[in-house]
């Protein structure tokens, strides 16, 4: 029993919003749509919800073709980045509204509102109206209303984006727990790779109207199918450069040669794009490495970690490491590259080597 997108496309006029997409979301799963703004996350959610009809293809839910079933007839709840509440209702009434519509008994309504408001720290505010709440509290009210409904499909479209990061951190921790013992399908859209990682579950990387990869979050992160998916799932951005592999050498540009490490036999000689996450390029030696020298463009110290942007043969690379490693802008920094952690992509951008 699942939600399935079968050969779904969405075109508006000549614009393709969603390219042909197949996606199966299992019951009881937590799925993150990860991609930059305007990549198609919201369009996909609207298709899943029945707010929008696909231009071609079908949507199946629990073994039934629901392509033509409007949102009102599906058991779906949605939360948007811009919170929406009933201004004349109290917080309690706002959260309870879908349950009243569904005709639930008062004690059951009370029980569910209490559970959701406890999770979202709204219990002291239940008697207030939305205009007496902070932005964060209003958004939590909207989230609570979506959670009480016990929908088959819960769509959360960047619901934490407007909240303080400490609150975001707490809700990020608690949201998956709230759904843990339910059989609904949760779909959560975000632009932030860290958020996808911390939710665990599954992740779909979305870019320019395509789902470029879908799988368990850890697999998608550790074994990106292609360069686009790797880029979408890296913050700070993944470091890339064209590289030529010959025997036991990897050559970037004219002057930079790295050892091949584990890729000596794993990777045929030829031209590739190398991809290295910023935390595998560090000021201190690590693993089976080599060093590169690059001119420092920007050095950011955050109190607990150092992020250095440097120029590597015309490519801007980023190093991210724990601890404080001060570099002055314009200096030449020597950085250790953990070659064994590299990804190699072919001319079509597909992964040919790398990952666990």
């Amino acid at each position: 029993m699942a939600l399935e997108l079968r050969n779904v496309t969405k075109r508006i006029g000549a614009d393709v919003h969603i390219h042909q997409t197949d996606l199966v979301l299992q019951e009881g799963s937590f799925n993150t749509l990860l991609g930059p703004t305007l990549s198609g996350k919201t369009s996909l959610m609207q298709l899943m919800a029945g707010l929008d009809r696909p231009s071609s293809g079908e949507i199946w839910s629990r073994g039934r073709n629901v392509t033509d079933v409007p949102v009102q007839k599906r058991n779906v709840s949605m939360v948007y980045q811009q919170f929406i509440n009933y201004p004349n209702f109290t917080v309690y009434e706002n959260i309870a509204s879908p349950l009243r519509v569904a005709g639930l008994a008062r004690p059951e309504i009370d029980r569910r509102v209490a559970a959701a408001s406890e999770l979202l720290r709204l219990t002291p505010m239940l008697g207030r109206r939305p205009n007496e709440l902070s932005g964060g509290q209003q958004q939590r009210t909207a989230i609570a209303r979506a959670l009480v409904k016990d929908a088959e499909l819960v769509l959360l479209d960047e619901p934490l984006a407007n909240l303080d990061y400490k609150l975001r951190e707490e809700l990020r921790d608690e949201l998956p727990r709230f759904f843990a013992d339910r059989d609904c399908i949760v779909v959560y859209a975000t632009t932030e790779p860290t958020e996808a990682l911390l939710f665990g579950g599954n992740t779909a990387t979305v870019f320019e109207g395509r789902v470029t990869q879908f799988g368990s979050t850890s697999d998608v992160y550790r074994r990106p199918a292609d360069l686009v998916s790797a880029r979408v799932f890296s913050d700070p951005p993944i470091n890339t450069a064209p590289v030529v592999k010959t025997g036991d050498k990897l050559v970037i540009g004219q002057a930079i040669a790295l050892p091949t490490g584990r890729f000596r036999s794993e990777l045929a000689d030829g031209e590739y794009t190398i991809g290295l996450r910023p935390h595998h390029v560090t000021p201190q030696p690590q693993g089976n490495g080599a060093t590169v020298d690059g001119r420092v463009l920007v050095a950011e110290l955050s109190g607990s970690e150092s992020v250095v942007h440097f120029d590597l043969d015309g490519h801007t690379w980023v190093s991210q490491s724990a601890g404080i490693h001060p570099f002055a802008v314009g200096d030449v920094a020597r950085l250790h590259v953990e070659v064994d952690k590299s990804f190699f992509f072919d001319a079509d951008g597909l992964l040919v080597a790398g990952g666990p």
């Binding site: 990061y165 913050d235 996450r277």
Partner: protein
């Protein structure tokens, strides 16, 4: 350029404030030195936007005075304070070209056209907008528009201070890196006093030379990013800065030694405790907790994979202890103990670090 001094500022939005909670700013003094980059950091409702409005003159404080370079500007209008501001959402003129948008604050001040041209080109080069100066602003992406807003804030060379109110909130994470780096670079280049208001610790810690942490209308700590991370002087700072925040664990102190749920724990400052009561807690960041052969017996409750590290939630006697373990390090299976780095573990009394 100016040094900014806030003295004894209190502010209430109510006509007759009485209770402590009636004050949006409870009492606050601050010296912001010339040419530095400051961040005002704190949760929603901590008073940071009120502070910003008091500095810019949009709000007159109920009590206290504001000085720019020793000159009392408490009564001065926003216009006369000579401040540039960049807001959360881009404020630009869609029908104008990028050039005219950037030139606007200068032309408004009757700067001569050759000077306008020179300044606009300088700023456009720094922000990599030079190629689009003739374009209409209406066709640009959100981050493109916000870059112009930043440019408009930076273009005047005669401002006392440049203030940023959560300017990167609407920007995608990938571009945030770029704009944040740009801003930092620009601060180095133009060396003017900048005040940056945010609730995002990463933005505050990477941008600012000094971070002013606020909570409930008060300053809790002012320090460099490293000081705030390594020596939070209040459990609030320890919790608010860092992700996840500092572990705060109840403890007892006897003979200058702290005990957490029966286990002795070394800290930098338990010996300084005078035995004068109060709520005693140990603070240690998840970065400074490690698995060891002996120490505090724990069970592992949860492991979250954050990519380059894992957030491990361990538990001792019902108290959660979070730790960060890098991606290659193993997590032991049973008979697990953890220890805290003694020189990173501190004793707090009623929230404040014992000194």
């Amino acid at each position: 350029m100016a040094g900014i001094s806030l003295q004894g500022i209190r502010h209430s939005y109510l006509p007759n404030p009485a209770a402590p909670d009636d004050w949006a700013i409870k009492r606050l003094s601050l010296e912001a030195g010339d040419g530095s980059a400051y961040a005002l950091l704190g949760p929603s409702g901590c008073g940071k936007t009120t502070m910003l409005n008091i500095i810019s003159g949009l709000l007159r404080p109920t009590e206290g005075q504001i000085f720019f370079d020793g000159l009392d500007v408490t009564e001065a209008t926003p216009e006369s304070r000579n401040i540039a501001q960049v807001f959360q959402f881009p404020v630009i003129y869609d029908t104008m070209t990028v050039f005219d948008n950037l030139a606007f604050p200068l032309r408004n001040r009757r700067v001569s056209e050759p000077d306008v041209k020179r300044r606009v080109h300088e700023i456009a080069d720094m922000l990599e907008l030079a190629g689009m100066l003739r374009q209409r602003a209406s066709g640009l992406t959100a981050d493109g528009k916000q870059k112009i807003s930043l440019g408009r804030g930076l273009v005047r060379s005669d401002v006392n201070v440049i203030m940023f109110d959560e300017p990167l909130t609407v920007i995608d994470p990938h571009l945030k890196w770029e704009l944040r780096s740009k801003l930092k670079e620009l601060h180095h280049k133009i060396g003017r006093t900048m005040i940056y208001v945010t609730h995002d610790q990463t933005e505050a810690l990477t941008f600012a030379d000094r971070v002013v942490v606020m909570n409930e209308g008060e300053i809790v700590q002012i320090g460099t990013p490293v000081e705030l991370f390594e020596r939070p002087n209040h459990t609030f700072v320890g919790h608010f800065i860092g992700s996840p925040g500092m572990n705060v664990l109840p403890c007892e102190v006897a003979d200058g030694k702290a005990r957490f749920a029966g286990v002795p724990v070394d800290s930098t400052n338990a010996a300084a405790y005078r035995g004068d009561g109060g709520r005693l807690e140990l603070g240690v960041r998840p970065e400074f907790v490690r698995f060891t052969e002996t120490g505090i017996p724990v069970e592992v409750v949860k492991i979250l994979d954050a990519g380059r590290y894992r957030i491990v939630e361990a538990s001792h006697a019902g108290h959660p202890i979070k730790m960060l373990i890098s991606e290659d390090k193993p997590i032991p299976a049973n008979g697990i103990h953890v220890s805290f780095d003694a020189d990173r573990t501190r004793l707090y009394r009623d929230g404040w670090m014992v000194e």
